[in-house]
Amino acid sequence: MKKIVLVSGNRLAPAATGGQVRSVGIARALARNGHCVHIFSTAGRKEDYQGDNVRRGVLETEIEPRLKESTHLGLTYGVLQSVGRRLDYPRVWQYNLLARGWVPGRLKQALQQADIVLSDLPYCPPIPGPWRNKPWYLISHNLEHKLLEQGGPRQKRFAGWMRGIESTATQTYTDIFSCAEEDQAFFKQHDARARLKLPLVRCGVDPGLYVLPPDMRRQMRAQLGFTEADEVLIFSGSGFGPNVEALREIEEFCRAEADFLTRNHVFLLVVGTVSRTPRREGPLVVTGPVAQILPYFAASDAGLNMITRGSGSTSNCSSIWRRACR
């Protein structure tokens, strides 16, 4: 049994994005293999910064046996995160703080005790200190520089910087958990001495989490105003640019094909932070952010994924999830 610290830039559990589903899934799988896994997140979510949490400076969460998350709620990280998001800057500030060792004392303690360290995304580089020689792995979720190349002007500006970081990751880390053939091939290309194994850990899920009460489908459909005869296609996603573009495609399609969809009792259900505002326009039903996404999968008949750009992999394999939700 090993003590594993997973360093993340923001709180991972409960998972609210595809990337978080994968990171928490990896942590959970390691814990279920008998390891003690400590997720240490250097910043929280907006709702974490209130009352006692801020006074304590940390949010501690026991996720399941041998798996816990500590979310640091210090103001430096919190303010920089907030400003960075508003200005649409990538987490360059976070990279620089960690790379210089300007990290919370609790994280240093955790690193001191760890046998193995995992970095969630290249924005969490190895932290200098006596723990630096421990096995240190990168969890790659895609090629970040490819995402930055596709972003706005402030994102594009850092694409070259991130490409440099990802190009040298093969020398920085003990090894890298790739998410798809695309990033695996990139890292292989930059591993001149073929030192790394570059194991592929796709965007899998824990199928056990998708077994829902038998009545959930009926209840959710009733709550959403769908009859059993209706055909419900679900699209879920975060506010990530390509997801928002896919939502626009769906909106346009619903407007253009409203008669066809209505005649055939087809509804397009859009769930998650891809849209902040709930609304209902004919065959289009948008929930906005939800506490739990699984009941919406249970209510649907198929997944719909209109994404046409991005990088890496996808966790939006709704048809497979649906199997477990039946």
Partner: protein
């Protein structure tokens, strides 16, 4: 699932057996094709997709295979 080819990137799903490929140009036709199949057929198809791809979708299986290659994770 109904998806663009890009939407299933990084998975091992193959059209048309594992998903119905769509684009903005043919989405209406693909939805028509989907609703033209009865639910029991679709459920059987989803089950078959799951059986074919379970190993590449279950994060526990993926992590077990990955860490088996990495000595520091050995007990």
């Amino acid at each position: 699932m109904i998806s663009t080819d890009f939407g299933v990137r990084g998975t091992q799903l193959v059209a048309p057996d594992d998903y119905l490929p769509c684009s903005r140009e043919n989405l209406r036709e693909v939805i028509g094709q989907f609703i033209g199949r009865d639910r029991s057929y679709r459920a059987a198809q989803a089950e078959a997709v799951w059986q074919r791809h379970r190993r590449s979708c279950d994060i526990q299986e993926l992590i077990n295979a990955a860490t088996a290659q990495l000595a520091p994770f050995a007990a």
